[in-house]
Symmetry: C2
Subunit: 203 residues, 2 copies
């Protein structure tokens, strides 16, 4: 088994944090996104989508998409459960993970990819108006989350889940997009301080 | 249990097709997206994201996001499995469902929401340049899928899965965005004819 890792980008980190929470260690090979190594003909054979991370199993099967890789490890080693147990909890965690992805992570990514000069080679064409349109969406979702987190410890309920990992990597990604969590969102800040203090956060 | 349904929009239909494949019948309440009923204060209490569908359980728990609702029913009634069984199949189906969503459904949705005059009230601001930028992405993904489907019957492998449902609703959504599957993508057309002929497709 081998994990093609993409370093500090949000999705590769999402998988590393997930593995750290599971206590699973996987041999990794670093693919340098700084030099666009994920776009070389060699890596395109490994993942035609030219994205990272990719998990390669011993039989040669390759799994792309960070959440698909996390689900592989959840099925392989269920404890501790990070996608939930039982129909209701599984559905609630999936709902929150999706909303974090759709309404927070995707909006931050759009603001970064369509406005940052360094992303010209990746996001073609850059549409600055689309980047700008996403900035207020980030703030709106954070404000909504602040209300939600006033009533419970974690994104999807009483226990830490993959939705917390997605939300943490989203908040850390905000720096790249030159966005900041407003000072008055105290519940988001309390939640972030807690998840960022977990040993897995440094993965 | 009650399903707040959104009629002919892609995500409500995704859940109805999934339920039809499972042979599950759920009482539904139609929310009229034509008159923006999902944006009323009443419905915003049911789903603050103002999106459909939403599943309401007997204890009042509400599950939004179509794939989260599908996962609820997959856990509730595992047969026939539409998210896979075993770590590798689960991961492969999740990978394909994600790639269909990210690289096909989201691109079609962007072309529709940012270019169609009727979407002005929903997508604010519309960014036509972003809608146009997504059109070639749709074609690129369809062309990639055509190569994949030359070697296997279904999107994620030898069996029908939720990834086929996502891809079918994506292709049907193309009409709304005034996009067409090119005639020469014969494998995509063969696959589509097969999944569209299943009884579930009329759900």
């Amino acid at each position: 088994m081998k994990l093609y890792d993409g370093g500090r980008a949000p999705n590769p980190r999402r998988v590393r944090v997930f593995l750290a929470e599971k206590g699973i260690s996987v041999p990794t090979e670093l693919v340098d996104i700084g030099t666009l190594q994920q776009r070389t003909p060699e890596f395109t054979k490994i993942n035609p989508m030219q994205r990272l991370p990719v998990l390669e199993l011993d039989d040669g099967t390759r799994i792309a998409e960070s959440i698909a890789i996390c689900r592989y490890f959840e099925a392989w080693q269920p404890e501790p459960p990070l996608f939930g147990q039982g129909a209701v909890e599984i559905a609630r965690i999936e709902m929150w993970n999706r909303q974090i992805e759709l309404d927070l992570l995707a909006a931050i990514a759009a603001a970064f990819r369509h406005l940052h000069p360094a992303m010209k080679a990746i996001e073609d064409p850059q549409v600055p108006a689309w980047g700008e349109a996403n900035k207020p969406r980030v703030l709106k979702m954070l404000t909504f989350l602040d209300g939600e987190l006033s009533g419970r410890p974690f994104i999807a309920g009483d226990t830490f889940s993959v939705a917390d990992i997605s939300a943490m990597i989203a908040l850390d990604f905000m720096k790249w997009a030159k966005l900041r969590v407003p000072e008055d969102l105290s519940h988001v800040r309390r939640w972030y301080a807690e998840v960022a203090a977990r040993p897995s956060a440094s993965a």
